[in-house]
């Protein structure tokens, strides 16, 4: 039997606020255990939560970008369960009234566009971390992360392959990074995904039993875990078995998923509205204000780059992959209006340098102005393409003006006909044999002669000009 997987995805995006969701502790990562805490995020008796307005604004901006219906009066609820990293014995989350209702996100898979429906997105606080050292017989709890704001974004079961999930995750992450609401770092856990997958006979409407997958902290694992899980479920059904509703953990080393908890083991979280927090009321003025702060989104920008700059989808996609790079490109194009050329340099030399130095485009020591200046010099023939390429690393690292560096290195290209004419004449005299061959119809010899001129000029001669002068001199 042929089966079709049906996949939905939950993403927990850590919001980039300065302080936690319900107290003023910093959200910094990687500090000594239990140093970023206060009575509120420690859950001390008598402490009370106060909502961080910045987190609400970030959730609204995300909701707007995902075309979500905003819940104008939304509410926090308590999700009750016991775990050592959960200091209050409940997590403050949203339940029946999430801040963002239904919406959609457009993705592109193998050139095909598709809308993935968003079911909801809600605000909640993160838990702390249990730390267990190998061999020790006690565990420790670090509550630095407890109370960090998360936005949980849930799709409808609209994805039908691991490729689609991959595209969805990447598109969503780019969007969140563009919006400046999340740094998108999967390894540090600021962008966590939990797909759920079921399979059904191809052509059938009814959904199969779904399995939730956890412990996925890279795009690669998401793809691997889903593919494993789809084939596992297929095997179960083919052998006449039944897929159990359960949560399974992805084991990277084994390349397998294993049961974490079955449906029977599922919690009754006893959600109820948190009486310590008032309902959150979004007024239309705030929404309107936030609407203006939403930058052009990656998918829209990609289309615009293809249209306005006549770039290929491939180039446009690379350029709009990060907001910083796209901004860099556009800034450069304004000063040097040859989009294709700028695109080549940005997607080639610049990205290479950025990757090597692990720098973001905004922090690149070479500004877009400096790059435009270099391209101008190439265009005007002041410096050769070859020299420009050779100098790029140094220009990038130092942030120097190209004009200055070219002068300092004596790399200014010679295009003056008078100067070049002298060298050309010398070369023609020195290589009379080749000149005769040329006249005899062997035009390929021209390349040799150009090389000789370049050599005599120590590489400074403008090759185009040399070509032109040679042809003119050799003309009968």
């Amino acid at each position: 039997m042929t089966y079709e997987p049906v996949i939905g995805v939950e993403v927990h995006a850590q919001l980039q606020t300065q302080t936690k969701l319900f107290c003023s502790c910093p959200t910094s990562f990687g500090l000594p255990p239990n140093t970023q805490v206060c009575p509120v995020c420690l859950g001390l008796p008598g402490s009370l939560p106060v909502l961080n307005q910045r987190a609400v604004e970030m959730a609204v901006r995300t909701g707007l970008a995902l075309h979500c219906e905003l819940t104008l009066t939304n509410q926090f609820s308590r999700k009750n369960y016991f775990y050592p990293d959960l200091p209050k014995g409940y997590q403050i989350s949203q339940y029946d009234l999430p801040i963002c209702g239904p919406g959609w996100l457009e993705i592109s898979v193998n050139g095909k566009r598709k809308r993935v429906r968003i079911m909801r997105a809600h605000l909640e606080e993160d838990a702390g971390k249990n730390v267990h050292e190998e061999g020790a017989d006690d565990s420790h709890v670090d509550l630095n992360r407890a109370g960090t704001p998360l936005l949980e974004i849930v799709t409808e079961p609209d994805l039908y392959s691991s490729d689609e999930v991959d595209a969805y995750l990447k598109t969503l992450r780019d969007l969140l990074v563009y919006l400046d609401v999340c740094d998108g770092n999967m390894e540090q856990g600021s962008f966590r995904c939990e797909p759920n997958v079921s399979i059904r006979p191809k052509g059938h409407e009814a959904l199969g039993t779904k399995v939730e997958l956890k412990n996925i902290n890279s795009f690669r694992y998401a793809k691997d875990a889903l593919e494993y899980e789809i084939s596992r479920q297929t095997e179960v059904l083919d052998e006449g078995g039944v897929v159990q509703q359960e949560t399974r953990l992805w084991n990277v080393n084994k390349g397998q998923t294993a049961v974490m908890r079955s449906k029977e083991g599922a919690h009754d979280y006893r959600y109820f509205p948190d009486p310590d927090l008032l309902p959150v009321i979004l007024d239309s003025e705030l929404i309107e204000e936030l609407e203006h702060t939403i930058p052009e989104l990656p998918s829209v920008r990609l289309q615009r780059f293809m249209q306005d700059y006549r770039l290929s989808e491939y180039d446009a996609a690379i350029l709009t992959d990060s907001k910083g790079l796209a901004d860099y490109f556009e800034c450069c194009v304004k000063l040097f209006p040859h989009p294709k050329t700028v695109s080549n340099w940005v997607t080639g030399e610049l990205i290479r340098e950025l990757n090597t130095s692990d720098t973001s485009p905004a922090d690149a020591p070479m500004s877009p102005q400096r790059l435009a200046e270099l391209l101008q010099l190439v265009d005007s023939g002041t410096v050769s393409l070859k020299a420009a390429r050779e100098l790029f690393s140094e220009l990038y690292a130092t942030g120097m003006s190209a004009e200055q560096l070219v002068k300092e290195k004596g790399l200014v290209q010679v295009s003056d006909e008078g100067q070049l004419g002298v060298i050309v004449d010398e070369v023609l005299v020195a290589h009379s044999a080749q000149v005769e061959q040329y006249h005899g119809g062997k035009e390929a010899v021209l390349g040799f002669l150009v090389g000789q001129v370049m050599k005599a000029s120590k590489g400074k001669a403008n090759p185009g000009k040399v070509n032109e002068l040679l042809k003119r001199s050799l003309a009968p």
Partner: protein
């Protein structure tokens, strides 16, 4: 007259005029407590003698430099032991928090401390404020100063007993379903529960968050107004605190009449179950109110009979979640020698909580469970709204409501300990105002034949504490109940 017999207002006058010093006040109360406390057991923790005297000395030394006094400066106060006091243990009357020392002050303590009072100690309560008699305190019950065989009421029984026994001039209590008003009635003192949201809950250890409210227990209505002035106001640390203006409440305790006020008498509060002796005293009080110019009007609050059931669903549901944090992981009691996590949770909570707390956690957990939520918790919220609407409708016609505080005078220790339902019924007249978030006061209106105090309750519109205090003051001035003091027998 002995210093400890003075009201807050009188003590304040003597201190402000320089007639007495903070040191004298501290010594007088230390002596009084040492004599009375063994019989009353109002306190769980006392401020060490040297510390208190040093603090008093600081006040006396600083007076010249400050050139002014604050209303609560040098005033000897008791604080209910579910209000967090930085550096001073806060037990909530529970083994679970027997050794818990908060690293922070409740907002009300920050406000108090700015006025430099003398904090004498932390008063006894039913465990986590769950109870009506202090018998559910892990540290043993307090005694009623009028008759030590009787309960002082609860849960703020320690605070009420301490004020009645002159072991502090005024105290803080907290009220969830009557925990300030009912013990005040039992002990013959004034207990005032402000509108929900008037006083910050930050640092009040939560029992039921949508109902808990801090308020004063005092000897007179004027004293309650002085204390309330120091407590009231918006707190950015409490999202449920009200951003509203407030007057000087001592100005409400000036007029001796209640002309132009309409006083409603809700029929449902005078039915079966009300002790005839209490009914009679309340009827007397109603006549007094009428005599002072109040217009008396019978009213009806039809949802009243549903209040207790509603309360015990909402309060326990919230409590089941609020008390989840006591898990033995971070602070508080942890059972020894658990082999695994689930066992540690189980043993710590089984051993750390008393029977009444466990009963309520189980009730609340049940009310919130999948499949029962709609039938219990959601239904209770709907009924709570009905009760609020009853009050809204009645307050279109009347300015105040008058009622008993408790169906009977203080019962005997142990009398209802084995019968939780009977115990719950002692809150029948105080719970509705809690569910509706209304301001309500309890003040003495007579003594029973056995010599136990009886309390009168006045309830007002939300945020109209000034009207409640005005009527209470006028009644207090028109009668002489406040001059009746218990004699503490040894």
């Amino acid at each position: 007259m002995a210093l400890f017999k003075l009201t807050l207002q009188e003590l304040q006058d003597k201190f402000t005029s320089g007639e007495i010093t903070a040191g004298e006040i501290a010594r007088a109360y230390l002596l009084r407590i040492s004599q009375v406390e063994p019989k009353i057991k109002a306190y769980i923790s006392l401020t060490p003698r040297e510390e208190l005297l040093a603090h008093a000395q600081e006040i006396d030394d600083g007076l010249k430099a400050w050139r002014k006094t604050e209303p609560l400066m040098a005033m000897p106060l008791g604080i209910k032991d579910n209000i967090c006091t930085k550096g001073m243990r806060t037990t909530c009357g529970s083994r679970m928090l027997e050794h818990f020392v908060p690293p922070y002050d409740a907002t009300v303590m920050t406000k108090f401390n700015a006025q430099k009072p003398l904090i004498l100690g932390k008063t006894n309560l039913d465990e986590f404020a769950m109870g009506s008699s202090t018998e559910h305190s892990a540290f043993g019950p307090s005694r009623n100063p009028w008759n030590q065989q009787h309960i002082p009421g609860g849960s703020s029984g320690g605070s009420a007993a301490a004020v009645a026994a002159d072991q502090c001039v005024a105290a803080l209590g907290s009220d969830t379903g009557g925990s300030i008003r009912q013990p005040a009635a039992c002990c013959g003192v004034v207990g005032f529960k402000p509108t929900y949201g008037r006083v910050s809950r930050y640092g009040l250890v939560a029992f039921a968050s949508s109902l808990d409210q801090i308020g004063p227990i005092t000897k007179t209505v004027t004293d309650a107004a002085i204390m309330f002035n120091a407590l009231v106001g918006y707190d950015p640390l409490d999202s449920t605190s009200a951003k509203r203006d407030f007057p000087d409440y001592t100005k409400s305790a000036k007029k001796k009449d209640i002309k132009k006020l309409v006083v409603g008498v809700p029929q449902e509060y005078f039915t079966e179950g009300l002790d005839p002796e209490v009914a009679e005293k309340i009827q007397d009080a109603i006549q007094v109110l009428e005599g002072m110019g109040g217009k008396i009007q019978e009213v009806t609050l039809p949802s009243t009979e549903r209040a207790i059931a509603t309360y015990y669903l909402i309060a326990t549901a919230e409590a089941s979640s609020n008390l989840a944090r006591y898990d033995g992981v971070k602070y508080g009691f942890r059972a020894k020698e658990s082999k695994e996590l689930a066992e540690m949770y189980h043993s710590s909570r089984s051993q750390g909580f008393g029977p009444e707390v466990k009963r309520r956690i189980m009730l609340g957990t049940y009310a919130l469970s999948a499949g029962y939520y709609d039938a219990y918790y959601a239904k209770a919220q709907a009924v709570r709204t009905m009760i609020q609407r009853d009050f809204d409708a009645v307050f279109q016609e009347v300015d105040l409501l008058v009622s008993p505080v408790m169906p009977s005078p203080a019962f005997r220790l142990g009398e209802r300990l084995e019968d939780p339902l009977q115990m719950y019924l002692s809150d029948i007249y105080t719970i509705p105002a809690s569910l509706a978030g209304l301001p309500a006061i309890s003040l003495p209106c007579g003594l029973s034949a056995k010599g136990l105090p009886i309390g009168l309750q006045l309830m007002g519109r939300p945020f109209e504490e000034n009207i409640v205090l005005r009527a209470a003051y006028a009644y207090e001035q028109a009668t002489n109940w406040r001059s009746k003091r218990p004699t503490i027998r040894s």
